[in-house]
Symmetry: C2
Subunit: 246 residues, 2 copies
DNA sequence: GAAAAAACTTGATCCAGATCAAGATTAAAA
DNA sequence: TTTTAATCTTGATCTGGATCAAGTTTTTTC
């Protein structure tokens, strides 16, 4: 692990409150690994031996069942993932693959578990992190059950715009194919939906999103604090396509 | 709060490992309340001032958006709910209403937060509980995104059968109307789907489920450990219709 | 126990979104 | 660059599940 990487990790909510010594100890048992693009580094069902941290690149969390597959989240630096499984010492519920060349830190789950038993500051951080992640997934489930696909698309685009500082124009952070799967629809249907939204204040130019009439788009998306956030605690994000580091 | 109730609460994973004194302290600041049937005791968006525990009766967690509404979980004694919101000191993401006359214990969130900062045994329990809940919701999201409604119904029925000790026949623990909403479908469609499953090893008699050909039904449901459980740790359940106490 | 109000079922119809099938773009590889 | 392989778009069609509309059964209330 490179020395300049430590502060980046330390800066995460999960680690910023623990003692220096304990942080060092945890990092000492961890190691970095570089993965090429498109590598399935975690297979659902495998034992969760490591907590993962993306340092560079990006990672897709996805789930498989039968022959089907769907995107559950995309993670970008710097964020942790697969925390709950590491803690429960249980099998991964999701698989993970790199979307590009990606650098990952691996923290042995057993060290992690030992650490929060020892460091009560850290255990509080773990609690907060897990609670945030939980709320993220609940939000996600709400969107899936309460909104139709057009509403999911519109609210996603508005949320992204907020994350881009309220900018009326920005570039999609992921391929449309992937976004479609994340939003629970087919790529074809996303394409059509984006086109249809041109009557409602949206313009697409390739991967560029241009919000031409925010009021109109909002009327359709009906963004809701209890689904789309933001969560008060600035940039937690738990796990959502909502890109951004946490 | 009645004295005979304390052991029931103490028995929950969340509380069984903390010191006697701390448990007593937490209970001292808590109080019980009885709600009539059909009362909306929690409204999404309200500040999460209390951790709730169902002692008697049953509670539906549901979400609203726009005019729509959907069931997210049903809780039965003895289980806690709305833990993550209490911890984050954040607004409830879901509403809750009683399905019958229900007795609830309310633990002030601030006391809860103070306690896990003080009692490290307790903080470990909170971590485990949250991690379990998280995994439950992820499972739920997987079912919603990967299975169609017939598959969700079939796998739900098989899961319930397992919870009933593998019995080939049991009574649905909730109204069909509610089950339908939980499974992300309309009541009409659930009705038709149950009927259609008669070709696949299922027989309904009112609220009674009779699995006439488990192999056939399983072939259709393709039950999966990573979606349908069980989670190793015996009866966690986080939040799912899967009834059962935790 | 009768009346009223739910929950449930069944049928007819409709529609959002999936699937199938080509093209059109864009990106990656040679 | 040229070639090759993705992703993305668009159109045509199909279908799972929603919606609408009665009935029927069960539960609740008086």
């Amino acid at each position: 692990m490179r020395p300049e990487e430590l502060p980046e990790i330390r800066h995460l909510h999960l680690f910023r409150d623990m003692s220096h010594a304990n942080f060092e100890a945890l990092m000492a048992s961890s190691y970095a690994q570089n993965f090429p693009q498109g590598l399935e580094m975690i297979r659902q069902g495998d034992p969760a031996d490591f907590l993962h941290i993306v340092l560079e690149g990006s990672v897709e969390l996805f789930a498989r069942w039968g022959g089907r597959e769907c995107t559950m989240a995309v993670l970008r630096p710097v964020s942790t993932f697969i925390l709950a499984a590491s803690i429960r010492d249980a099998p991964y519920l999701m698989s993970a693959r790199t979307l590009e060349r990606t650098r990952i830190i691996l923290i042995p789950s057993s060290d992690l578990r030992a650490m929060f038993r020892r460091d009560s500051e850290f255990s509080v951080s773990v609690i907060n992190e897990l609670a945030s992640c939980y709320r993220s997934v609940v939000r996600n489930a709400k969107t899936l059950k309460l909104r139709n696909s057009r509403e999911r698309v519109a609210s996603y685009l508005l949320r992204q715009s907020l994350l881009a500082g309220g900018a009326p124009s920005y570039v999609l952070p992921v391929e449309k194919r992937l976004l479609a799967s994340y939003l629970g629809m087919t790529a074809e249907n996303l394409s059509r939906t984006l086109r249809a939204l041109e009557d409602d204040g949206l313009k697409m130019d390739g991967a560029r999103v241009i919000i031409t009439d925010r009021a109109k788009l909002s009327a359709l998306a009906q963004p809701d604090k209890l689904i789309d956030g933001p969560e008060m605690d600035s940039n937690e994000n738990g796990s959502g396509l909502p890109i951004s580091s946490r």
